[in-house]
Symmetry: C2
Subunit: 200 residues, 2 copies
């Protein structure tokens, strides 16, 4: 059975992709894009290094505008990112019977609660899978065993999270300072291939 | 890395075992027993059919007595089963760095909440994994693809859940009718091997 994994090129989404593939799903990796900045390149590169099929999931520009409105109103990104994520999941569900993401047990955003998951599955006749059965320590350890990872400061070129296009849009609206406050620079882990003794 | 999976021979615990094995863990299956009835045989048989190492995790008789006290006081099995499950997880954590069970997203019992999970991981220096990222529909579909399953009415001989020894102890205490009311007969799925096109 086909399964779409919402994919950023990070450890979590890479791990759920490998997990599903090794259980027999035909996995395709999707990176959402809202037409603001081509932020999928880094995810596409990670997907290619791991040998997965990767597609850009084109989403409407207005969804990003709604999210940015929420974020600027809240002064905090959580609600806006959750809004985007739910819309992206629904978009993915139009073409796949199974949709997964790398949400971990200790993630706060984006995260669907149990009622949102049930409503998503029922309304879209889709099956949703995530990593909430796994904590960050386990995922860090396992991903070091599976993947070659690079640790680096996040930039426009090496990250495919929603954050990149959100920051772009806020900056375009004249809010460069607000963008940096909302999304301060941080260090990320990016998947750049398999460990030698692992195979797809 | 070694991982223990609390194992009943059912779909959920079999699936989490396969998942961990295919991600590279050295999986050992554990079935708890409280010295009341040798209820592990069915789980041991399923484990053997799948080619997994299986052990009986001997737990103290008094834990089962405490659980039965709770169950009879509540007139409802949930709290007692959760009590047993937490104790069994802690016992497993004494010998394994990773402990997993087949708790699904839609399971109610046994289930640890997020605070209990964090406390379990921190106090025992263990990593805990479960299937709460997966719903029953997905698990049913996937387990049909992976396993040969038999559907049958639950009996003393074909089930290795906590339920069997709980019922035994309540019956020994003269409460046969109470035992049947608390645990009415039901149909179960038991794993009896791999599907032909699957391999360990």
């Amino acid at each position: 059975m086909k399964a779409a994994v919402l994919y950023s090129g990070g450890k979590d989404s890479s791990l759920v992709a490998v997990m599903l593939q090794r259980l027999g799903y035909q996995v395709e990796l999707l990176t959402a894009n809202f037409g603001i900045f081509p932020s999928w390149n880094s995810a596409a590169e990670s997907a290619s290094c791991l040998g997965f099929k990767h597609k850009v999931l084109k989403a409407d520009h207005t969804l990003m505008e709604e999210a940015v409105d929420l974020i600027l109103k809240d002064g905090f990104p959580n609600q806006g990112i959750n809004h985007l994520h739910r819309e992206v999941l629904e978009l993915a569900a139009e073409n796949y019977p199974v949709v997964a993401d790398g949400t971990r047990r200790d993630d706060r955003v984006p995260k669907l609660d149990i009622t949102q998951i049930q409503s998503f599955e029922d309304s879209k006749s889709v099956q949703y899978i995530n990593l909430v059965g796994w904590g960050h320590k386990t995922i860090n350890q396992l991903s070091k065993q599976l993947f070659n990872l690079i640790k680096e400061p996040t930039s426009m070129e090496n990250n495919s999270d929603y954050e990149i296009e959100i920051r772009c849009l806020i900056t375009q609206m004249g809010g460069a300072d607000a963008a940096i406050k909302l999304f301060p620079p941080h260090i990320q882990s990016r998947v750049i291939g398999w460990r030698e003794d692992e195979q797809k």
